[in-house]
Symmetry: none
Subunit: 215 residues, 4 copies
DNA sequence: TATGAATGAGGCTTCATTCAT
DNA sequence: AATGAATGAAGCCTCATTCAT
């Protein structure tokens, strides 16, 4: 019976984790659809078809759920970035930026939500530890980016300015591109979002390249 | 006696308006420092040194205070943009973008706050009318930008893509530049914010110019 | 100049009293139209075209304004009742009841308002004194009614039951008749209010007469 | 285990409903004792020994609690009325009126409270639906009364006037009778309330009967 | 273990009344 | 004398979190 007991425990764990993911997915969906202010724990539980108390078996607080969404997203972005860095080092100088933009613009609603969550949770003491973890991931990506950018500068591909100028400019443009997708006053005149985002991505790829700036 | 009476009334009005400004300034300061969620009407009143009820003599609701901040900012941005358009039409093609970036990056904390407020008030029915007013201002600016961009395209200065590609890209970059200033994980490594913002502004000025994009 | 000074003072008093009446009339009109809960002192002042502070020069409190309306109404009702008693003693046994009903049903909206005000102010300590005055008027009327009813009983016109049975029954019917005029669920089916009120008034005149009750 | 689980759920439901009733009863008691204006949700909760938030698990708003009291009362009155109509159709012409009066005068304080609540909630949009339900009950009762009254008119028992004259007169007298019980200035002189109410009820039974009115 | 009823701190807003001008 | 800006107590309601079952 040891085997079956082990199996039971595994099954239990599996179901526990599945439930956790269900909570996250439900929360994510609600947060995107209704906006951060309008989502309550009660509603998450209701939509997920579980009890409110159960939510608190998985997460210490509402903030932790949101933090988890951020963390998952940051990890995924970091992974995509890493792949881009790899591609760049394999010869295509624009690959990182492209990968980065595509990663962030693949699901602008999610990206924007995470932007908002970050502001919301910035000062939340209850998730300070996880926020630190998130920042560690970001710092690690940044370190890799930095060294990559420095190589490109040495190879004469990028302008010779501090490395962070380059990747922060990219970050900024991507961040803003996401916002463009949702700004009232813009959305109604954008009939060709794909084209716009391609245009912006191209700018991202080109900007900071040697010979581009006249300032 | 008529004179003194008139003077008294004027003095009263002046003080009333001064108090209104005091409320706005106090609210603004708190919103920037503490974050939208953490600011209450009670706290605004306390910081302004007035009673809670007094706030409601000047504004119908908390949302209206925030809306007012947005509106003031939008108007100021529109004015700066207009001046930039004028300068561009007087011969300097990069003037608009430069003016726009300088306007938005002059007080990034305020710009970022307004970004957040817009998201927060987007669906608030109680300020729908003022939001419409704000969008009208924005639309008017956009119309002027559009015609200006089209001229620059005709003159061969800008890439021949839909006009809104150009100004939305600028908007996006400015938006993102503001965020860069506050993103935890970035701020600590930016020792030379001025340089960075100049770099980004230059990108803004250059991007979309003919011969810049390789896509 | 003594004369002119006296005249001035009189003129002032006259205007002061006129203003007081204006406040009462405005309040009355608002109370009837909007309902007791929805009338504020600010609105009374605004409608009357005077300052809020001025209202408080005439009345100690909002309750006092309402009390004054009640008192005025009670006095008017008492006067009408007295005339009716007189008429009854002059030979028409039904005159009191008729006068009473006509008095109360002449302006049902006002009567109903006063009913509501009485409930509202019943326990209000700030107008306890005036309430006492009102009750004194009522008691005085009751005393006269009592003696009149007793005469009618002796003359064999009314049933020989305690005098207050008679006049309280009348009071009740009048009170209810007023309510009928406003009850949702009734009003829409009353196309002939005059006829209904005449019918009820007739009941009032007849009820308690000898030979009417079978119980 | 299924049984005990089912039992547990039932027990829970029972207690939930019991608490709901507790809230209603507490509210009712406070409303009668202190008057509508002086009852707050906080006080209801305190008196019921529960938290403020709990009240809102059972009712959407304070108005809904009051509406519920009204609805319960209207239903009970309608039931009593129906029984009276039945009795009248079984041969006793005065049975309806008697049943109706007894129903309303059984607990005058409650009846009066409901009168007040109706005025208060008349224009409250948040309970408009329930108010409609209440009026539907009332209309249904009225329809039955109408047809009954018409029969009695045909049988020559009641005066040949529009049917609603009869039942509205009854309603009015009952309404007023309730008010008599509480009117300051009357209550102190009523030592024999039972007798008075019997007297008034008799009037109700007799009034409108053929040969009673002289106009 | 899962549940959801219960909680109460805390937010927004109203309005009678005061008082400096 | 008249004004209306200022006040703050008091009310309603929300919702993250707890805990008994």
């Amino acid at each position: 019976m040891t085997i079956s007991s082990t199996q039971k425990i595994r099954e239990k764990k599996r179901r526990f984790l599945a439930r956790e993911q269900l909570i996250i997915d439900t929360a994510l969906s609600l947060l995107i659809d209704a906006g951060i202010e309008r989502v309550t724990v009660a509603e998450i539980a209701r939509q997920a078809g579980i009890g409110k108390g159960t939510v608190y078996k998985h997460f210490e607080s509402k903030s932790e759920i949101m933090m988890r969404i951020m963390l998952d997203y940051e990890k995924s972005t970091a992974t995509n970035l890493l792949a881009g860095i790899q591609a760049t080092e394999n010869g295509d100088p624009g690959a990182v930026v492209k990968a980065y933009f595509e990663s962030r613009l693949a699901n602008p609603a999610l990206d924007r939500l995470v932007q908002q969550l970050e502001i919301r949770l910035e000062e939340e003491p209850s998730v300070a530890r996880q926020m630190e973890e998130l920042l560690a991931i970001r710092r690690s990506s940044i370190a890799k980016l930095s060294s990559m950018v420095e190589k490109l500068i040495k190879r004469g591909i990028l302008e010779n300015v501090p490395a962070h100028y380059h990747y922060l400019a990219s970050w900024a443009l991507a961040q803003g591109a996401v916002d463009v997708c949702f700004n009232r006053g813009f959305v109604d005149q954008i009939d060709d979002k794909e084209g716009l985002l391609r245009f912006i991505t191209n700018i991202g790829v080109t900007m900071g390249n040697r010979g581009q700036l006249r300032g």
